[in-house]
Structures are given as structure tokens and as C-alpha cells.
């Protein structure tokens, strides 16, 4: 009898354990509880903040505990670009470990650099996981600051999601403290209510980078002003491409290179707020049609079938027959310089057929950070300090996010680039920037941009017909975003 009782008890314990496991596994219950708790604590700390008017850390859990800063600052990023920039400008950093994972500040606080590659969405996966667990994480494991690229920044600055802290909650006044920043970089970093939730140190106006030797051979000159006339708009660019073709050169490496100039000039966002319909803009269709025409005419290098692959990098080397690339400042520094194997000074910069902006890394303070003061210092040091932005521009040939600094750079000679044969590219960057009409963003941009290029890449390569490409895009985008129900073509 006793034995039976014991076995019944054990069986009951096993069943209970199973059910408990299931309960823990179901995120529904846990998640909603977490949100409730967070809202409650937010409300509480907001009260504390208003009571203590001097406190700058309203909204953080720590504010209620007396403004004590955590010992570890976790910074999430997708490559070591952010680490090198912050290390270069944030004077409180005393030393960084050899493997680059931990930096120590002069007050003993440690910065932990959490770097995951962008490839295959790994970075966002890890970041999302951490942000969803933010409320329950121990203080030292909380995300404090993270990097977000323009293609997906809306995902994080969404006011409803509230994972990005408004800068004003950190004690930064965007109107006065970040007055020097270019207006569009502030607009794209703001949520629908106009509250700025991110800040960047770079603006990314795109230019046309061309080979001087090819220009001399085909056009008889490598003067940026003269070449600029030949690349002034798409119609002129086409006849220029014809001239290049006659001498056996290609205007651009592939159709993906020209994509950003079209995609950055779309009239409406890919997806309107709270809509489940993707609206493909006429500009994108123009890109498809123009690319097809160019492809058939032989203006693109047929060996290159997309960006970020070995063939594309080879097209930037001295053996290539490609005349020009369309790049913002970061592209010259991070893509062209390492892939160029000839002598320095072989390239020059001029205006692109259409002004555009490509990319940009934004700094976002994570809601629930336990280091609001340090986070504020870092954001200000990198994105709101004129001296630092001058330094970054000089050291890394970046087009930094400060109007006066960039004006000075365009007019001075100290920013001349050896890679560009002593040319000062900042004038062209500034020109491009002044005429940028920033495309309206949506949180679906990354998937749309990536998948439409894939789908129509097959079409441009002559693999499938136009309608199949459309159907393939629709299939792929619905796989990526299950909430998308309809795709409208112009």
C-alpha cells in the first residue's frame, strides 16, 4: 500500500514538473506579466523623477534606487566600427583588453562589447532576444546601448515597442545639445510623435567614385568637375556609359550598385504605419526597367551579380574594367580602400546621377539601462561633440554629423584624401547631402530592399520573366513578414 502511495506521488510530481515546464515555455503568460511589471516600475520611477527634479535618469529603474550606476555597460554592435569610434572619442576609457571585448573606464566601470555579425540577421536576433529579456535581466546583463542601422532603425525607435529611450529621458536636449546635427538624421531617429530616440555620428550622402586612369583614357580628363558634368543625371549617365562601353569599360559593376539612388528617392514608405500592405514604389520599377536596359546594353560588368561578394570586391581592384562605384563616405573607407590593389590616388569623387543617402549607424540607449549617465556621456561624446566629430572625420574619412565641421572640411585642405589623389571629397558629400530627400522609412525596409533585389536579380540575369520575379518577391516577403497580406504594384 505504501509503495503504491509513493509511486502515485512520484507520478504526480513528474506530471506537475511537465506542466510547470510547459508553463515556463509559453511566453504568453510570462511576457504579459513582464510588461505589466515594467509599466508599473516605469510609472513608479517617473514619479520618483518628477519628485526629484534634478535627477536626469527618469525612467530608469536605478533612479528610484538613488541614482547609483551599474558596474557593467553592455554595448551591442554588429562590427568593431562602433568600438573603435567610441574608444577614439570617449576619454573616460582607460584601456581595452587585447581581444577587444572589455574596456575599463577610469571610475572602474567596465564596458562589455557584445559584437554579433549582421550576416543572416544574427545581430538583430541576439539583440532582440536580449531586449525582450531586458526587464528580467540582472543589472549587469542589461543592454545599455546598442547600434542600429538606418535600414532597421524604425523597428527599435517605434514608440509602441519602447525599447529605445527618448534622448530627453537621458537628459539630452536634441534641440540644443544636438543642434549641429543634420536635420534628416534627427528625423529618421525620431518616432511617429517626433521624439528623438537615437543619435548618429555620421551622415551618409552618396557620391560617385570613379577610376582616374579610365576617365583619362575615355574622356581625356580626370577632373572631377568635367566628369561630374558627364554623370549629372541618368540620361547623361547613359550616354557616358555608351562612351565607356565603346572603349571596353563598364559604367558600374552591377544593378545592385545603382539601387540605392532609386530606393532612397521613393515617394512613400514601403509599408504605411499599421498597414499590412506593401506598396512598391514606381521608383523601384524604374530601377528594374532601367537596369534591364543597361544590362542588355552591356553597361554593367556581367561577372558581378550582386554586392558583398568576391566578384564585387574583385571589380574594385586594378584588373577590373569597372569605371565607377556609388558610395557614401564609409564605402570608400571600408570597401574600396581594402580592395584596391593598385597605386594610391587612382580614384576620384564626383557627383552621383541622383543624390542619395545610404546607411548610417545610430546609437540607441536601451530602455531599462542601469547606466544612464555613462550612456548619455558616450552618446554626447560621439554624436554631439564638435571636436570629436572633427577627429573622427580626419581619422576615418567619415562624413560626420555636424554641419559646421563638415562646412569647414569642405573648404579646408586638411581633409584631402591620399586615396583620392589628394582630392577633398567633402564638397561633393555636402552637395549631395543638401539635395537629399530622405526616403520615408518603415520597419520593413531591410527585408523589402534585400528581397526585391534578390527577386529581380534573377529577372535581370535573364533567369526568369518579370511576372515570376514579382511572384517570387511576394512569396519571399510574406515568408519574412507573416503579417504582410498584400503587395501592391504601381
Amino acid at each position: 500500500m505504501r509503495k503504491k502511495l509513493v509511486s502515485v506521488l512520484i507520478a504526480a510530481a513528474v506530471v506537475a514538473g511537465t506542466l510547470a515546464g510547459c508553463g515556463g515555455g509559453s511566453d504568453a503568460g510570462g511576457e504579459s506579466q513582464g510588461t505589466d511589471a515594467e509599466t508599473a516600475s516605469d510609472a513608479g520611477s517617473a514619479d520618483a523623477g518628477s519628485a526629484d527634479a534634478g535627477s536626469t535618469d527618469a525612467g530608469s529603474d536605478v533612479a528610484a534606487a538613488g541614482g547609483e550606476e551599474g558596474k557593467v555597460i553592455n554595448i551591442y554592435s554588429f562590427n568593431d566600427e562602433l568600438r573603435t569610434r567610441i574608444t577614439a572619442v570617449y576619454s573616460a576609457i582607460e584601456n581595452t583588453s587585447d581581444d577587444g571585448t572589455v574596456s575599463t573606464l577610469n571610475d572602474g566601470t567596465e564596458i562589455h562589447w557584445v559584437i554579433n555579425p549582421n550576416q543572416d540577421g544574427v545581430y538583430q536576433d541576439k539583440l532582440d532576444e536580449a531586449l525582450l529579456n531586458q526587464a528580467d535581466a540582472a543589472d549587469d546583463d542589461k543592454v545599455d546601448l546598442f547600434a542600429a542601422e538606418l535600414d532597421y532603425i524604425v523597428k527599435y525607435t517605434d514608440a509602441n515597442v519602447d525599447v529605445a529611450m527618448p534622448l530627453s529621458d537621458l537628459g539630452i536636449n536634441p534641440d540644443s545639445d544636438l543642434a549641429e546635427q543634420f536635420a534628416f538624421t534627427k528625423t529618421v531617429a525620431s518616432d511617429v510623435n517626433g521624439v528623438q530616440r537615437a543619435s548618429t555620428w555620421q551622415a551618409c550622402p552618396g557620391v560617385l567614385v570613379y577610376r582616374r586612369d579610365i576617365a583619362k583614357e575615355v574622356f581625356g580628363t580626370d577632373d572631377p568637375v568635367e566628369i561630374g558634368k558627364k554623370t549629372a543625371d541618368w540620361a547623361t549617365m547613359k550616354s557616358t556609359a555608351e562612351e565607356l562601353k565603346a572603349k571596353g569599360y563598364y559604367a558600374f559593376s552591377c544593378y545592385a550598385d545603382t539601387f540605392r539612388t532609386y530606393a532612397n528617392n521613393i515617394a512613400g514608405p514601403w509599408v504605411e504605419a499599421d498597414s499590412s500592405t506593401i506598396k512598391v514604389d514606381q521608383k523601384i520599377i524604374d530601377w528594374v526597367n532601367d537596369s534591364k536596359e543597361w544590362m542588355d546594353a552591356g553597361y554593367f560588368d556581367p561577372t558581378v551579380t550582386g554586392q558583398w561578394n568576391a566578384d564585387w570586391f574583385t571589380a574594385m581592384s586594378s584588373s577590373s574594367k569597372v569605371f565607377a562605384f556609388l558610395f557614401p563616405a564609409w564605402g570608400i573607407d571600408t570597401q574600396m580602400v581594402p580592395n584596391w590593389d593598385g597605386e594610391e590616388g587612382a580614384w576620384a569623387v564626383t557627383n552621383a546621377p541622383l543624390p542619395y543617402n545610404w546607411g548610417g549607424t545610430y546609437l540607441v540607449a536601451a530602455t531599462g539601462t542601469d547606466n544612464p549617465t555613462h550612456v548619455k556621456e558616450i552618446i554626447m561624446a560621439l554624436t554631439g561633440n564638435q571636436d570629436n566629430l572633427t577627429k573622427v572625420a580626419k581619422e576615418y574619412t567619415e562624413f560626420t554629423n555636424a554641419q559646421s565641421v563638415m562646412d569647414a572640411a569642405a573648404n579646408g585642405t586638411e581633409f584631402n584624401s591620399a586615396f583620392l589623389g589628394g582630392q577633398n571629397p567633402y564638397g561633393y558629400f555636402a552637395d549631395s547631402l543638401s539635395s537629399i530627400k530622405m526616403a520615408p522609412l518603415s520597419s520593413y525596409d531591410q527585408g523589402c530592399v534585400e528581397l526585391i533585389q534578390n527577386a529581380f536579380g534573377d529577372y535581370l540575369q535573364g533567369q526568369i520573366d518579370y511576372d515570376t520575379a514579382k511572384a517570387n518577391f511576394e512569396t519571399a516577403i510574406k515568408e519574412r513578414y507573416p503579417e504582410i497580406l498584400e503587395i501592391q504594384w504601381p
Binding site: T18, G21, C22, G25, S26, D27, A28, E31, D120, G121, D128, L131, L132, V154, K155, Y156, D158, N160, V161, V163, T303, T305, N309, A310, D311, T314, S443, N454, D458, Q461, Q463, I464, T468, N472, T475, A476, E479, R480, Y481, P482, E483
Partner: protein, 315 residues
């Protein structure tokens, strides 16, 4: 009573020793498995960083999968698998019967066995990466063919369905034929030498010996190889994924079922991915049942059935 007490029961030690396996299976396999099946009936995914669901939607995931291109991807998977499997089984059978043939007396057998097994030791993804580089437009294969004058224009292997499928298939062939060879060798060596000897005395030539004796006698192992290879083929992922950068290019002709599953996981669509997994689970389950039937067959050569039939006829 006295006797009973003397009996020491060691069985519990057996259970204790296998407990760790069952505990870890229960925690790391069974619970996720049950969860996968459960979520397949739910709408459950992530939009941006917002979690949608889980909302119970019954069989909707299953229905929309049937309406999607799932069967096309199943077809792709089958084609990729066949391209790898047919040469694999032919070569493996030939090599296995050569290796065990006493008359051929192949030298350095051990060496060859190691060499043919080697590709299996390389990680599939690394192997795919290697092929990707070898067969790219600017890769060594193209430049060798060009300089030999075999081709006048570079071949873009990755842009034709034929090219990608052949590459993926031949990679699977290269990786697995060694493994199959060794398995079939073991099977052939398990056949009693008496039978071979007897057949030779009866004047059997080597072709007859292969088709009349070797093949029928290794039938269970052959079936086992076939079924496990189909199950492995169903799960084909890393090679085509890396070769086509996850897109199944061109025109999704080399998108396998698991790549399809993976593309649902980009949006953390646990519901849809769960339903797809259940479909795969059912197919694999049926295949496993078949292999179980075959390996547990107590009448592998059909002699008992034949005897029965004879009895009936004679009866």
C-alpha cells in the same frame, strides 16, 4: 519466503545508469518536440520586436502551407537528393564488392577506405564554402577551363538551376559515398563465404555472383541505406543554403524543405515552422516505420514465405 529475500535485484542499476539519457532527452528533446507540435496550431511570430500571439488558429498553418510552394520545395529536395544518391549507391556498391572480392586482391585497401571516407569528416558548410569559391565566376575552375580553351566564356554555375543542383548533389555524393561503401562492405562480408565458394564451383561468373547472390543477401542493409539516406535528404540544408546564400537561387529551384523552414524562422514564425516540422515528422515517421519493418524482418531472403506458399499450393 527465505528464498525470495536472497534474490538480489540488479535491474535498478540499469535504470539508474540510463536515467541521465532519459532525463536529458526529456528536457532537451521531448518538451521542445511537444511545444513544436503545440505551436503549429497557433499564430505565433514576431513583427519587428513585437511578439504576435500565440493565438489558437487550428489547422490554418497546415492549410496555408499546402497552398504555398511547399510541394515544389519537396520536389527540389527530392531532385537534389536523387542527384546525390544515384551515383552514391552505384559507386558504393561497385567499390564495396571490389574491396571484399578476394580474387581482386586490391592493395592498400585500408588507405583507400580512409581516403573515400575523408570528405565526410569535413564540415558540410565548409565543404559548400569551398565549392562556392571553386565554381564562382572568378574561381579557379572557370579560369582553368578558360586557359585550357575548353570554354570561351565564363560559366556562371550559380545562376543556372542545373549548375546549382548538380553542385549540391555532387557534394552530397562526395560526402556520403565513402560512408555507404563501408557500410555495404560490412554487409557483404557478413555473407557466408561458403555461398560464394559454392557458386564458383557451380560455374557462376562474377556478374551472376553480384546480381544473384550479393545483392539479394544484402537487401536489408541496402534498404536501410536507402531509407536513412532519404531521411537525411529530407533534412538537406547546409550545402544548398551556403551555396545559394539562403535564397535557393535561381528562382527558388534549389530551395529545400529545411531552407523553407529556416526562412520562416527569420521572422520567428514558430507556428508556420512548427506546422512544416510536423509535416516532415510525419513523412520521416512513415519512412522510419518502413525501415523498422525491414530490419526486423525475420524472413529476409523470402524463403519462409516461399515455403508457406509452397505448402499452401501443395496442401
Amino acid at each position: 519466503m527465505q528464498n525470495k529475500r536472497k534474490l538480489v535485484n540488479y535491474a535498478k542499476w540499469g535504470y539508474i545508469f540510463i536515467l541521465p539519457f532519459f532525463a536529458s532527452f526529456f528536457i532537451f528533446s521531448l518538451i521542445p518536440l511537444v511545444d513544436t507540435i503545440r505551436y503549429s496550431f497557433y499564430e505565433y511570430y514576431r513583427s519587428g520586436i513585437k511578439e504576435i500571439g500565440p493565438n489558437f488558429i487550428g489547422m490554418a498553418n497546415y492549410a496555408s502551407l499546402i497552398q504555398s510552394d511547399m510541394l515544389k520545395y519537396a520536389g527540389n529536395t527530392l531532385i537534389l537528393w536523387l542527384i546525390g544518391f544515384i551515383p552514391q549507391i552505384v559507386i558504393a556498391l561497385t567499390l564495396a564488392s571490389w574491396f571484399v572480392d578476394v580474387r581482386m586482391r586490391i592493395r592498400c585497401q585500408q588507405f583507400f577506405k580512409v581516403v573515400i571516407y575523408l570528405p565526410n569528416l569535413i564540415m558540410a558548410s565548409a565543404f559548400a564554402m569551398l565549392f562556392f569559391t571553386l565554381f564562382s565566376k572568378t574561381g579557379p575552375v572557370n579560369s582553368i577551363l578558360m586557359s585550357l580553351g575548353v570554354i570561351s566564356e565564363v560559366i556562371d554555375f550559380m545562376r543556372t538551376a542545373f549548375g546549382v543542383r548538380t553542385l549540391a548533389g555532387s557534394m552530397n555524393f562526395l560526402m556520403w559515398f565513402g560512408n555507404t561503401t563501408i557500410m555495404l562492405m560490412a554487409a557483404i562480408m557478413g555473407i557466408s563465404p561458403d555461398i560464394f565458394e559454392a557458386s564458383e564451383i557451380d560455374g557462376c561468373n562474377s556478374t551472376q555472383r553480384f546480381f544473384r547472390i550479393t545483392l539479394p543477401l544484402i537487401r536489408p542493409i541496402l534498404a536501410y541505406t536507402l531509407i536513412t539516406s532519404i531521411i537525411g535528404g529530407l533534412q538537406m540544408f547546409d550545402v544548398p543554403q551556403i551555396l545559394t546564400n539562403g535564397q535557393g537561387n535561381p528562382d527558388r529551384t534549389s530551395m529545400t524543405l529545411i531552407m523553407f523552414l529556416n526562412s520562416h524562422l527569420r521572422s520567428k514564425n514558430y507556428g508556420m515552422a512548427g506546422a512544416l516540422s510536423v509535416y516532415l515528422f510525419i513523412v520521416s515517421g512513415i519512412l522510419c516505420f518502413i525501415v523498422y519493418k525491414i530490419t526486423n524482418d525475420n524472413d529476409p531472403d523470402g524463403s519462409k514465405a516461399a515455403a508457406k506458399a509452397k505448402k499452401k499450393r501443395g496442401g
